[in-house]
Assembly symmetry: D2
């Protein structure tokens, strides 16, 4: 029996971790894409807990950057960026529950070179931006189109990077807000955290009936921080298994893998993102192991792990985790 | 002739600064209040540029904290906080324009003690919060009800503070986002900047047709930073004169008084809010005076002024200004 | 009787606010200048509480930028920047006391144009720096030499700014650290706060015997934030009256004027500087007025004032103050 | 041939990576410990490049917390914290060079339980501090003494954590500053980065003749961020091989292991620490591989790794690295 049978999803999910009906959302099914995480859109599909859904996603540029001579600032039209598929309505989901989303696979979709990365003016970790407002001239724009398949990312003739795909943007709807899909927050969104890849389960807080699951922005590979503002962006086909945990009550996204349990915080400055993630983890470890909060705090000063998602979005994202083997 | 005749509003407004038709929005007219700044609500009223509008606002607690023994955390129901009157649709307003909103008067409304301040758990400048997540226990909750009239704020038997009213939350709608009225941003919102008071004109970027002007959250007096998380909150009647400047193109709110021109930035950390405000001001001074950006930058290192709005909201707000007499 | 007779300095100082012996430190007396605030230097002079000291200071560039064609990065030699006069040993000063330093006058010193401002690569509020590390190219360097006298600052043929001098850098020595004079901190240092001008009294924590008072870096005028990284720098002659308050115990610099009492915090990010200043002020107001800390916190949410010193130094500085008339 | 023969140390060191004379510094040899990184102390030993030095270090509490009933705030006497062994004078080292320090071994030293962790008031990642100044009451103080040997860290009867030792504080002297050993900065210091362990080589900028190498503060194990403010602190015996690279010119610490090359930045807020580390790495990758800075920036957006050292010291520390196999 694998670890999945002992996951929160399998133990607490309404469907008990069992795979249910199969669904698909193609680009054509989706029709209009969404640029906000919000409750004002109509669900593209309605599913029962346990549903297995195959989802076609656009890349963050909606496929508009097609060649290396393209100039991003002439093509991209803020705020119509980072198009999202969904929302998926999960039956029975109510405020206070969590959607459990198991990522089964992520495959690149479309003609080669399928991957795109670029430098966009006033965007990125080592340049002035709209918030960290500077008078310096922006860096020159630049586009790289890169061949990607499930065996590798072909950066250059001499260097092949591994294919390490994940979902850059995934989350539920806020209750009354509709927030740009460029931003991560308490409901998920544009966290750009490489851990959100095949094999992982993400537990997303439900803020409104049906949960309203959105996703998009798959990455073929990404370093910690998504340094230049974008990763290796690609259109993809994502296969998900969606379950529902009643009353799970997590205030921020939680992520489970075979080895570890993680919480994900998003905020500025970056220490606040880390504080959010670690506070959730301290409290979860204390509850899970029966230790006091003070002891859990001290245990994590020994063995907590931090993963930087992005340091470039409107909020920065950090995952704080503990190895499951230390939960005793 | 007063300074108003030389204001941007009078010189560039569609109505040329002339007062037009009178309108009123009472609490009853408004009916349901709004808790987000967004385009998904229906306008409560539609006006021509020049309109003079009398608006009744709730306090930030929607009047639910009525006595000093109330416990805020038992009464307040996130995200249904900071109720906003509006939206007001301004005819002819299109993306890229600015609404010019002249504040004519702000009067407290309702039975005494009309003012409320309080300590709310995990909210305020000197306590851990949802973002600056701490393990420390919150401060005890506390409510103070304070008598306010247009002559003063009666803090105690021995101390009367001046009545220095302003609008804590005012702004236009984002194009596709709907953002909590607790947050300030590029469209205005919960800036909590004491300069937004009678006599001032605020220029708010238009992001969607009609502008969609919202307001609420009047304060009888507030210190810089809104230190404990709320000011002296009061229900109010606000009188506004609303004009429209075509193609004004400001990316962030701009504020004009007899003496000074200001830009308002909102971001975290606080230095980013200051950078936004100052960059807008540098560029405006350069354009206005014909100096180079470098010279405007150096001039402001001599005589720029900074006003801290809030250091407690989801984003912090800062106004950077220059005295008009130095614009030569 | 003026306000000074009721100041902390006059009421609590060892010399009771009385002016004592006169001393002078000229550039020649000083000999070698200091670039750190530390205990490892020998005092240039030893004085009794009450001493009136006339001090000649260099400008922050040690007078090396003499003409507008100078290139700062070729002239300035880090870490030998911001030369300080002192240290002045105050007899009787011990750890836990405070030096009370009353600023009597600040006059420009030397040939015209006596004022210098400039753009230095990777330095300033609206550019990438050594800490806020960017890949953008720096702005071009630029020097402006400006005529200054006690009647005004002659920015251009058409614009004269007021002469509003203050001491940019003043403080005591840390106990065992020696910290660059470019940095402000708990002992004072490079706060660049315009309130530190003639008429004000600054109370500086004593960390080692004798206090070791250093000063330098006078400014003819400066905007809030010292936006481009430097103010209008000038060599000056400063007249100070130095007293000693035994056991005053302030952890951070405190400043008193006729109207207000202020505390000064220095940290990054800017909200932390504000938090430090405001927490000191909350506690002082509570102690001074007999109110609870919670009440003082709420009073300051009504009437606290914030002054931004610098947002460009290794730490940022903020003063938080209350009008004395509200202390009842 | 192992990777060490191809390290920067072996290829560029004055001693060419060869082990030279053996030296030892015992607690008795050291005598007085140091609490600042500065040039004002006398070297405890003078060595040639290539020297192998065995160093006894105190724990961060100088061994004063001996039992779980101890109360840290009654024992610890700021600023006399985090005692450092050294300085070691390396012959031939001049400003602009780098010391190459290879960590050969770290062994716990002294009677069991040799490890100490604790909660100290106003210190730690999830509590208010002297900088992030709060009004909340501090958490209760708490001490845990933990048995440690080279096989494990005996957290509880049921949980043994791995022994993963490293040097919490190591660095050279600034040129004229003397900075608390609690702080990390451009010269190293209290980085608390778990990568600084056996097998790694750290390249520390030389700011003054002889370099003045200090070290202390060994940790038996630590999670990312050193969450509660301290790790598992222990007295240790550290064996180092010290070489010298002339003209290496790194502005910030650089670290090499078999697999990766890292730069370490320290600043607040945390994004600035990341920016420093990543900018150094971008420039180094560009120089090393012949790619443009823009290409190196894009490569690191694919495969850069970030390790959080501490988020609790006066500055926070972050290491940014690239796998050596991607350097082609």
């Amino acid at each position: 029996m694998g670890w999945f049978e002992n996951s929160l999803m399998a133990r607490k999910g309404v469907a008990g971790g069992a795979a249910g009906a199969k669904h698909a959302i193609t680009i054509a099914d989706q029709g209009a894409f969404h640029y906000v995480y919000g409750p004002y859109a109509d669900p593209v599909i309605e599913v029962e807990p346990g549903a297995v859904v195959s989802v076609e996603t656009h890349d963050a540029f909606e496929g508009k950057i097609t060649k290396e001579s393209d100039v991003p600032s002439q093509i991209l039209n803020f705020p119509f960026l980072n198009p999202q598929t969904g929302p998926i309505f999960v039956k029975g989901a109510e405020k206070g529950d969590a959607l459990a989303v198991r990522i089964l696979s992520i495959r690149p979709r479309g003609p080669q070179p399928v991957g795109t990365t670029c430098l966009i003016p006033e965007f990125g970790g080592l340049v002035g931006t709209g918030n960290t407002a500077m008078l310096n001239a922006p860096l020159p724009e630049k586009v790289k189109k890169i061949r990607v398949d499930e065996q590798g990312v072909y950066w250059s003739d001499t260097l092949t990077l591994p294919y390490e795909p994940f979902i850059g943007t995934i989350g539920t709807s806020p209750e009354i807000e509709a927030i740009s899909s460029l931003q991560p927050d308490y409901y998920g969104g544009n966290m750009d955290l490489p851990d959100v890849g095949p094999g992982a389960i993400i537990y997303l807080p439900v803020n409104k009936a049906g949960g309203y699951l959105y996703l998009g922005d798959c990455h073929a590979i990404q370093g910690d921080g998504e340094l230049c503002g974008v990763a290796l962006e690609m259109p993809a086909t994502v296969e998900l298994q969606v379950d529902l945990i009643k009353g799970h009550g997590n205030a921020w996204p939680q992520l489970e893998t075979e080895e570890a349990m993680m919480f994900i915080g998003s905020a500025r400055p970056l220490e606040d993102a880390s504080r959010i993630a670690y506070r959730e983890l301290v409290r979860w470890v204390a509850a899970e192991t029966g230790q006091s909060e003070a002891d859990a705090y001290m245990l994590l000063t020994m063995c907590g792990k931090v993963r930087l998602g992005n340091m470039v979005d409107p909020k920065y994202s950090v995952g704080a985790s503990i190895a499951k083997k230390y939960l005793k």
